[in-house]
């Protein structure tokens, strides 16, 4: 009896497994019919029979309604918030939370990432010299804890952020404008060599007069006037992108008293050094929030979920101030649940079950989701908006927005002076003998041009970006001020590549060839694809042009880049603000140029243009300067400027309100959404 029962159980389970394995998406019914029609052939009318297929239209319109219209479920992939301290956070997952909890003085004009509208500042003025900004602070605004917003809160928020410092924080975006280009941290006002950067113990032991002077430089830069209800900001030089800089999450306004109660800087210049150099885990505001924004933090369970609830006393609702003309005044969804689900299969199941209002879909998985799309909205670059319409099967539950340009790019950078101290395995013999390259191999313009001509952008976009990307002309991204697709740029041309490489090093490269290694961090398919394209295309020209590809563990890769040991390093940049300076600075004179060991004369030429660009206030003048820099970038070819991907956003069709502003990471800014 027992045997029989077990046998039946086993049979059921085995059959069940087979059925599960054979589960597949249902396909829409296709009807095939024969019809006759009359056609005119050489003046004669004939009747012919043709077979046509048609997908029947649904009998009645399909309605899309959520079972839980008051809660928004955003199911994200990898990447959790690092910290909720607005002055420390410097990654998009944290931004997506902070920007909903805190307000800034100014905000974006809806989908426009370069136009700004008042927020906590009712208005602002810029002095004629472009170095002083006066903000008129809005009255009647309350923090989540009920405290009133004052100009002192605003000034303190900026002062405390800068004085807290941090090499991994976004504060360098402030310090350059406040104290001059090349100053990345407040500690450099105490020791200009940078030796005290991120060294709290060293800073506390520094000269007290210098410490006081540094603090006063900050407090003088952000001055509150309680009588006139204004905050004035003094910069060390005109700074075109200043408004864009303070519109981001690090421009969030804190409640001064609340912040001090929770352990941040006490506002006294005699003590600031004691609060300097916190890390993301030691900052007192790591997991505490108190903003004026549309949502309040309900809880953050690291690695699992963040839950926000609507602010019932949101000042925009009370004062009837829409976020931009025609935009919402307050949140229409009461609760937002941002869940971190790393496994794509699980996220896909949640999307199918309707438990994800939107989710992150990896590029390689879009073909799985596309059959579920019933409404397609394609980006129209002319109108900067989407054109929407039904798909072949309008009964499907998802809406897809696609084609919008993103603000992340990976480039391949040439190392002008490869570090070979103590031996370097990436350069082979270290000589131009066909079995290696010399440390200054890329100092020859013909080499750099050859590598540009040997890069196949179409292959890169097809392989690494799943066919959805746009080749960049120069260092800027499409659509940005100063970006001009008509400017000269490199395209894949094997003949020119062969011609240039043959001339390199007075023809010696053409005679003996070269061999070196391109390293990438294991698992990064984009970087690997870049290396493979160069390897294949040079090998096609001549087998003596030998590029080897090596996958490195993350620590080794980082150490190799830091040590300037890789002949070519492939790295990505996600913009902080939607302004050409945020690309010109790192790519032409700052972070990347430094890692490349860019020659002084080249660096100087770029620096002149970058400094002029950031200081100019007239957009037309700025655009012209950045175009000149693009021209120079083409002539010097210090890197291979690759391509930006175009983005996709899938959502359930019961969601409404999505618009695309490239600066919002992920699917944040929840106030714009409503749900049926």
């Amino acid at each position: 009896m027992l045997n029989k029962k077990v046998f039946v159980l086993l049979a059921i389970l085995t059959i069940g497994s087979t059925i599960l394995a054979s589960c597949a998406q249902p396909t829409p019914e296709v009807v095939t019919v024969e019809v006759t029609r009359e056609v005119e052939v050489q003046g004669e009318t004939k009747t012919e029979t043709v077979v046509v297929t048609a997908t029947p239209t649904p009998e009645k319109p399909v309605e899309f309604k959520s079972e839980d219209p008051n809660t928004l479920y955003n199911i994200t992939g990898a990447g959790d918030t690092d910290t909720l301290d607005p002055a420390w956070n410097y990654e998009s997952a944290g931004d997506a939370i902070i920007l909903n909890i805190y307000d800034q003085l100014v905000t974006y004009d809806g989908p426009n990432a370069t136009q700004f509208v008042p927020s906590l500042a009712e208005s602002w003025e810029i002095s004629d010299d472009g170095m002083t900004y006066t903000f008129h602070i809005r009255k009647g605004v309350k923090f989540h804890n009920g405290a009133d917003l004052t100009p002192e809160d605003v000034a303190y928020s900026f002062q405390r952020a800068v004085l807290q410092g941090g090499g991994w924080s976004p504060m360098w975006l402030y310090t350059e404008a406040l104290f001059g280009t090349g100053i990345y941290d407040i500690a450099e006002l105490v020791d200009e060599t940078g030796a005290l950067d991120d060294d709290p113990e060293g800073l506390q032991a520094a000269d007290p007069d210098k410490l006081m002077a540094a603090c006063e430089a900050v407090t003088n830069a952000f001055v509150a006037d309680e009588d006139n209800w204004t905050v004035t900001m003094h910069l060390s030089q005109p700074w075109g992108p200043w408004i864009a800089t303070i519109a981001q999450s690090w421009g969030s306004i804190l409640d001064k008293d609340w912040a001090i109660e929770n352990g941040t800087w006490d506002g006294d210049c005699a003590t600031w050094q004691n609060y300097y150099g916190v890390t993301s885990e030691t900052t007192p505001l790591r997991d505490k929030t108190n903003g004026t924004g549309p949502y309040m933090l309900d809880h953050w369970t690291p690695g699992e979920e963040t839950v926000l609830v609507a602010n019932p006393n949101y000042w925009r609702v009370e004062q009837n101030v829409p976020v931009f003309e025609g935009g919402p005044t307050g949140p229409s969804i009461e609760r937002v649940v941002i869940k971190l689900v790393g496994e794509w299969g699980t996220r896909f199941a949640m999307l199918q079950a309707g438990d994800a209002d939107f989710t992150y879909v990896p590029r390689q998985n879009v073909s799985q989701v596309d059959p579920m799309v019933g409404e397609l909205c394609e980006w129209n670059a002319d109108t900067n908006d989407f054109d929407c319409g039904p798909t072949d099967d309008p009964t499907q539950p998802l809406r897809l927005f696609k084609g919008m340009p993103t603000v992340v790019r990976t480039d391949a950078f040439f190392n002008f002076n490869i570090n070979v101290e103590g031996g370097n395995p990436y350069v082979g013999s270290g000589e131009l003998d066909g079995n290696g390259i010399p440390p200054d191999f890329f100092s020859d313009i013909h080499v750099r041009r050859a590598f540009n001509y040997c890069f196949d952008w179409d292959a890169f976009i097809a392989d690494a970006l799943n066919g959805e990307g746009v080749q960049n002309v120069g260092y800027l991204i499409p659509g940005m001020l100063g970006y001009d697709p008509s400017l000269p740029h490199y395209t894949y041309d094997p003949d020119k590549c062969a011609e240039e490489i043959a001339q390199a090093w007075d023809g010696k490269v053409g005679e003996v060839g070269f061999r070196f290694q391109i390293g990438y961090n294991t698992g990064n398919v984009t970087r690997q694809t870049v290396a493979q394209i160069l390897q294949a295309n040079f090998a096609d020209i001549d087998p003596k042009y030998n590029i080897e590809i090596i996958g490195l563990p993350w620590p080794s890769f980082l150490a190799a880049i830091r040590g300037k040991r890789l002949p070519i390093f492939i790295s990505g940049w996600m913009e902080d603000i939607h302004d050409p300076h945020n690309w010109a600075q790192p790519f032409l004179v700052g972070t990347y140029a430094s890692r490349q060991g860019m020659p002084d004369d080249m660096h100087e030429e770029f620096q002149k243009l970058v400094s002029a660009g950031v200081a100019a206030s007239d957009p037309a003048e700025r655009a012209e300067i950045y175009k000149q820099a693009t021209q120079l970038d083409y002539e010097y070819a210090p890197a291979i400027r690759l391509a930006v991907a175009t983005g996709r956003h899938y959502e359930q069709r019961w969601m409404h309100g999505y618009y695309y502003n490239p600066i919002y990471g992920g699917d944040s800014n929840y106030m714009r959404f409503s749900k049926e």
Binding site: C23, D198, P200, A349, P555
Partner: protein
């Protein structure tokens, strides 16, 4: 037996010391810059940022100094307070989890324990039952079917099996969702009215007399437990079957049968207890494995337990978290094997632990 248990438990600090010295010793092979990579997620935008990480975390200090600081903590120059120090019960901060390791463990371990408690009975008993049935029906169709069934389970990638059942029972039928509880239940659990006595949701739900929460938590546990059971039955079954077959060939079994005892009595009273010795060992390993976290099952079913956190820390070389988890796992392993040894002595009177 008491002496034996005390002796084994006294070994625990020694084992833990050895494990941590080994892990810190392996760090010797990395340069300070490589070690700084353990603290960062991407190439820094600010060129000087990596030096800052090295300075702030003391990564350029000798490994014995770093080990000592990890043991006893460091004094904050401003407040004078001592921060960190595992001997003070501070496991440090998990960069991958963005929270103190102690908080991470406090939250994740109950989740893993709950899954293990629900899974251990079906995993072990199912395997034992299958093994006994297969052995008793040696070389009969039922034996072959049971073995094929178990082998299919063993060779089925758990990732694939988990996703298949998830697609069917969740995406299609919407019966059994992933996660630990539904969002509405989570709101109740986090409310002040609900008392989290044990952090085991099913148990706490019963103690709070909230059957709706209990059922919701059970719904979320069914698929992970079924997946674990099906995949692990093969091992339990094979060991039980082999052991049972060997026992059934013993003379005393023949004697029992010749005395006219019913077959059920022969199997259940005479054969099974003696065949269970290796099964107990395997059961101990199973419990240790379940308590250490089951990465794939936790990943597929979005069940935030120890396995998921440990895997994330290991992949990103988050040494502080890895060290803490290793310590915990070592402790669980030692205690589990002490229990197994005690069970040995209980099952088999010939075994004397002293």
């Amino acid at each position: 037996m008491v002496n034996y248990v005390i002796r084994r438990l006294l070994l625990v600090p020694l084992i833990l010391f050895g494990v941590t010295v080994l892990i810190f010793g392996m760090l010797q092979f990395l340069t300070p810059v490589e070690r700084s990579a353990l603290y960062v997620r991407d190439i820094p935008k600010n060129e000087r940022a990596l030096e800052g990480v090295i300075k702030q975390y003391g990564l350029d200090q000798p490994i014995p100094v770093q080990y000592w600081k990890w043991l006893v903590g460091t004094r904050d120059p401003h407040t004078g307070e001592i921060r960190g120090g595992i001997l003070r019960g501070d496991f440090g901060y998990s960069r991958t989890a963005s929270e103190p390791v102690a908080d991470l463990i406090k939250r994740r371990f109950p989740a893993t324990l709950e899954l293990a408690l629900w899974a251990v009975l079906p995993v072990v008993s199912g395997g034992v039952i299958l093994g006994v049935i297969a052995a008793v029906n040696h070389n009969k169709p039922i034996d072959h079917i049971a073995r094929i069934f178990a082998i299919v389970g063993w060779s089925f990638p758990d990732f694939v099996f988990g996703l298949l059942v998830l697609m069917f029972f969740y995406a299609d039928l919407k019966w059994l969702p992933p996660g630990r509880v539904s969002d509405w239940a989570n709101q109740v659990i986090m409310s002040p009215e609900f008392h989290n006595y044990t952090k085991l949701i099913t148990l706490d739900a019963l103690l709070n007399l909230r059957l709706d929460i209990f059922w919701d938590a059970v719904r979320h546990l069914i698929l992970p437990v079924v997946t674990l059971s099906y995949l692990w039955w093969a091992l339990q079954m094979r060991v039980t079957r082999s052991s049972m077959l060997e026992t059934l060939r013993q003379d005393y079994i023949t004697t029992a049968r010749s005395k006219g005892l019913a077959e059920k009595v022969v199997i259940m009273r005479h054969a099974l207890p003696n065949a269970l010795m290796p099964v107990v060992t395997l059961g101990g390993s199973t419990v240790v494995g379940l308590l250490g976290g089951v990465v794939i099952v936790e990943t597929v079913f979005d069940y935030h337990g120890m396995g998921l956190a440990f895997a994330a820390a290991a992949v990103q070389l988050d040494v502080i978290t890895v060290l803490a988890f290793t310590l915990l796992n070592s402790l669980i392993m030692v205690v589990a094997y002490v229990i197994v040894d005690v069970l040995y002595a209980y099952i088999d009177p010939r075994v004397r632990l002293d």
